[in-house]
Amino acid sequence: MDPNAAYTSAAGVLQLIPEMIVVGGAVFVFVGGTFAKSKTAWSWVAAAGLAAAGLALWTQKVPGGFAGPIAVDALGYTLRWLVLLLGGVFVLALARPAAAGQAPEVTGSLLLAIAGGMIVSVSGELVLLFVALETISIPTYVLLYVGRKDSASQESAAKYFFLSILSSAVTLYGFCFLYGVTGSTHLAEIARVLQNTSVAAVADWGPLPDLALVLIFVGLAFKIAAAPFHFYAPDVYQGTTHENAMLLAVLPKVAGIAALIRVTTLAMPLAAGTGWRIALFLAVVTMTVGNMTALWQKNVRRLLAYSSIAHAGYLLIGLAAGFAATLGPQGSRPEEGLGASVFYLVVYAFSTAGAFAALAYLGSPERQVDTVAELAGLGRTRPVSAAALAVFMFSLAGVPPLAGFWGKLSLFLSALDVRSSPGLGASRQTWFIVLAVIGALNAAVAATYYLRVVATMYFLPPAKEPRAEGGGAVRTAGGLCLVAVLLIGLLLGPMLIQATQDAVQASAPVPPPKPAQQAQIDGAPPSIVR
């Protein structure tokens, strides 16, 4: 950040116009909903709001760096588009449940959550980041509760609520330590201070930066459902609708990974040694727990919940590689792993959202598809839906030439590209080779349960008359995801990987210090904002 620029600036505020449009839409829906009786209009309003926000985002410039607390860089821009596009999918998918119940509340909460996701993408400051994370969480509680009145959904809402605030508290605790060490809540400043690796400063801080990193990591690990902070996911997904599960599986994960990249990897170079160990450990545990448990699931939402846990593990591979590359040796590229994670996020989001959309379409408002067995014979009775669901499953399993294949490929390659630094951390490369191998083994195991779904659809006789009364909106949502998965898989994959890596590289808050600058930083006062 330019130290002469104002902290709270008009430029920064103007950067948030797309988010303001979405929030304004939410307010309009909430207030308008108390006046007008219409149930179906609000989804249109939400869609229009998202379209307007997209238009505003299209006209935004990406100068790089920060405008006050807002990170106006390529990473933020990329993630905002991702959230906005996913927001479109969510609005379509939730149109029918909204119309069936309290439409303004559902639609408005959804818009707020989308706005929260977009703000997380651009937060360059801890307080803003925390507020944005809560802007995702709180409407999500409402969404989980509002739709259905049965005890299962209430249980799942309560579980999510309590565990979510616990994780928020842990995150906030980590932020506190970070502020305590660096004396600033601004990421650029934090990064600048934590680049100061003079012996005196490091001795003075002790383990505090690493402690902060652990706490933040754990808090955000809940958002992405990494083990052992994942326990809520299966229960909550199973207790709610496909549409809500889609939201839960995708949006917090995008926000969590975005925040992890922004705060832990890019802004805390000093703690990267702790970072890659934690990320690697959590990645291995999460992948394994997710996949092994998924093998036994009969309920589709539970199956996909464990699948989403396993994918959190894959996502952490890129983060671990990013941390490790931050430590060097010369020529290592942190953006390779981080970009791979962001790309995988895109791939995962569309594949999972598509799978949930397909399942939602295959049910009816009264009775949704619950077990895998209900999908039997779908290849004959509902060939198009079955084919779409099969594509999503293959993509999640990482079968070429679909999107998931490129995602896994780039993640594993980034892990294999990690090199040891001479001296300290000499075993690092070995660890990452082990990580890649475990990742590949997990991917192989995961193929079992994804293919089981496909096999059930194509090789078993039809169980009963398929309903497929999910409605046109959710079908459109699934179709959009299908287009995205096929497009990324067949055409855009390698290009997007490159693009995300470039975006991450362009978004590191402070370029690595040159030796000449190092001495100057050593002597500088730690902060300008106290």
Binding site: N4, V13, F35
Partner: protein, 133 residues
Amino acid sequence: MFDSALPILLFVLVATLLPIGMLLGPRILAPRRQTAVKAMPYESGMDPIHDTRRRFDVRFHLLAIDFLVFDVELLFLYPWAVARGNASSGVDRAVAANLIDGRGIVFVGAMVFIGLLLAGFIYTWRKGVFEWR
């Protein structure tokens, strides 16, 4: 290296030992005489008249939340109102220190905040929170 970790460890240690000590101490030291009166929830107060886990009307809850909303509004608006006119330590100084682009942005921010609260107020009003039915 432990310079700064040491206080934390001490803090954790004390925070753990203190409750344990407070639980263990009376158990060792205090005399125990169990009587019917002693077993009552409020030993020296009023007799309880019903179960504590009693249901009460959800409308209290809504009203309480509404109260909280306006309470927090006050918490934000009070420092803003005070800082506005104070040239030596308020908004003007922040502008002078180049922490804020200008006074206008603070004003707009506060107005948006009030506007959002107003929207919430209209929402609760229309939803009938203030009507005790």
